[in-house]
């Protein structure tokens, strides 16, 4: 009970910080103090944050390493963009975006559920390899998918555009490797921030509910969890599905922020999966606010360093290594503990100075 109150406080503080950051960014943007590069990053940062929250649920609470979360993001992105484009002229903007959001989330959850059935029988490295493969399969299937619509209905092909056999009045919705073009750009920074807050609250409530306790119990000790009567598979499935659904929300946001949506290695392939995993690990496994901070810093950093041209990836990797050492290396952890440099002691010091004042 006391623990719950404490963590609720932490959640409220995180939400307040997000709101303050949002206001600062929004003011800077409207007064023209934000470079176009940075303001172009605002929505993608929210999208990546959502995927990171989803992956953190999987890694930190289910205790299983997934390298395929970009795949679920991809499913959410393409299903919602497909819907938005197909109904661009028939449904008004606001209900269409809400429906697209629900559809993207639903399909990402469905794929998560279906993939979890075989995959969760494995554990550790094997699970990581299989999820990695699934992420790639999703991306590659979308790359050869052609879908068009005309007066005869929907046409689907996995060969090329010609074999669709569209009537002259038909429109091409998904054009293979060129993906979906002309999705309405409806994702705004405000929507992104609201979705991130919503995802934070949902995951927080989930891990502190009866189901979440069961998931954590399975992570802590599977045999003991079985002997107190917990159905292991059921709870693993629930957690993995929710995790995939949140990644799907990130995908919807991502898809509605760009004009032409394609599935490449950089946006939905293993590169992205690994990058999200980097956010989660550096932000702290099981720590949702930490993943947000890591996502914001590590997405903004390469863009801020763009002026340094060739040296920027070098600096980026050095920052990554430094962060990792700072958070995980035993010697540095010991040094920080000896010199009062842990987050706990620093917070304590700040409190004390405040009391003195």
């Amino acid at each position: 009970m006391k623990n719950l109150n404490k963590s609720t406080q932490k959640l409220i503080i995180s939400i307040l910080v997000i709101v303050v950051l949002y206001i600062v960014m929004a003011v800077m943007e409207s007064t023209g103090n934000l470079s176009s590069l940075m303001s172009g990053l605002l929505v993608p940062v929210c999208a990546y944050s959502l995927v990171a929250i989803g992956l953190n649920l999987c890694v930190g609470y289910l205790g299983e390493l997934s390298l395929g979360h970009a795949g679920f993001m991809c499913v959410g992105a393409f299903t919602s963009a497909f819907f938005s484009k197909a109904y661009a002229n028939t449904i008004p903007d606001v209900p269409r975006f809400i429906l697209a959001l629900l559809i993207g989330t639903f399909f990402a959850a469905l794929f998560g559920f279906l993939i979890a059935i075989p995959v969760l029988r494995l554990s550790g490295d094997y699970l990581a390899i299989v999820t990695l493969a699934f992420g790639e399969i999703i991306k590659n299937v979308i790359n050869v998918l052609y879908v068009g619509i005309d007066s005869n209905g929907l046409h689907v092909s996995m060969k090329d555009m010609m074999s669709l056999g569209l009537e002259p009045d038909g429109t091409l919705l998904v054009n293979g490797a060129q993906g979906i073009t002309g999705t309405p750009r409806q994702a705004t920074f405000l929507i992104g921030v609201l979705l991130v807050i919503f995802a934070l609250v949902v995951t927080f409530n989930f891990v502190n509910s009866r189901t979440g306790r069961a998931v954590k119990a399975i992570r802590d000790n599977q045999i003991a969890a079985e002997t107190v009567g917990l159905p292991i598979t059921k709870y693993k499935l629930i957690a993995f599905t929710i995790s995939a659904a949140i990644a799907g929300v990130g995908g919807v946001l991502y898809a509605h922020n760009i004009n032409s949506l394609t599935a490449t290695t950089n946006n939905f392939g293993y590169n992205m999966s690994i990058m999200i995993l980097v956010y989660v690990v550096l932000g702290g496994i099981g720590n949702f606010s930490g993943s947000l901070i890591a996502t914001v810093v590590l997405t903004m950093l390469p863009e801020m360093l763009r002026g340094l041209s060739n040296y920027r990836m070098l600096i980026y990797s050095i920052v990554l290594i430094a962060l990792m050492l700072f958070n995980w290396a035993p010697d540095i952890l010991k040094f920080r503990a000896d010199h009062g440099l842990t987050s706990k002691t620093i917070l304590g010091k700040i409190k004390k100075t405040k009391e003195v004042q």
Partner: protein, 252 residues
């Protein structure tokens, strides 16, 4: 009818016959001891009773129902709970949450009402807290309810494991070496606790133990295992005076 009836139970791991022709009958309300030298197969018997191992031969009946080879979670639901020789708590969760996980199947609300904090969530969580604290107070652990389970001292971790097992409302409680690693004082406290929970919760208890003092002090009946086979079985005093048992424990 006996609460637990085990007939001709046996298990082989490859060429190794770990337990062979194991028979056991425990009446409702009994406190039964399973003893034997190291490697005799005691924990293997527990693992078969709780479905962690599937027995190669034989049958297990709980209250007349066949539970042989069922899933561990289902065996728990039909009324068997256990503790482990090497303590298996949910270390990253609070003492209270450990017991609440034990209560998982007795209280219910959907994942949906948990995520969106519907009224059912608050009502059920409140009831669960109350019930969990009630169980913890039997062990005097209610003051430590908010501590992480892994931060409890060793003896209390063992008690918490028993509390968690009791939260699943078992008919039969299996205790795997509850006094392992305890000093004489802690062992005496544990004997009192076991007597207390038997009275308070009305459970039948089967325990594995090395500590002869504990066994002879509280168990009414004993089974002695040696090399996977039953060496002697019956009333405690008779079994402990059995020359075969003395031979197995002390040598000739």
């Amino acid at each position: 009818m006996a609460l637990l009836e085990v007939t001709n139970l046996g298990i082989s791991f490859g060429g190794l016959r770990a337990v062979d022709e194991f028979n056991l009958q425990i009446e409702k309300g009994e406190l039964y001891g399973l003893i034997g030298p190291n490697g005799a197969g005691k924990t293997t018997v527990f693992n078969m009773l709780t479905g962690i191992y599937k027995p190669t031969d034989g049958k297990i009946f709980l209250d007349g129902n066949d539970i042989t080879g069922k899933k561990t979670a289902d065996i728990n639901k039909s009324g068997v709970a256990r503790t482990f020789q090497n303590i298996r708590l949910f270390g990253d969760q609070s003492v209270l949450d450990n017991v609440k996980i034990g209560l998982h199947n007795s209280f219910e609300y959907s994942t949906f009402s948990g995520i969106f904090r519907l009224p059912k969530f608050f009502a059920t969580e409140k009831e669960m807290d109350k019930k969990a604290l009630e169980i913890l107070s039997v062990f005097g652990l209610d003051k430590e309810a908010d501590i992480l389970a892994s931060n409890l001292p060793y003896g209390k971790q063992r008690e918490l494991e028993i509390a968690r097992a009791l939260a699943t409302e078992p008919q039969l409680l299996l205790l795997d070496e509850p006094a392992a690693g305890m000093n004489p004082n802690e062992t005496r406290d544990l004997m009192n606790t076991i007597a207390l929970i038997r009275k308070e919760f009305g459970v039948t208890i089967l325990l594995i133990e090395h500590d002869m003092k504990l066994v002879s002090g509280i168990c009414e009946k004993l089974t002695v295992l040696n090399f996977g086979r039953v060496l002697s079985q019956g009333e405690t005093s008779a079994v402990l005076n059995d020359p075969e048992v003395i031979k197995a424990y002390l040598g000739e």
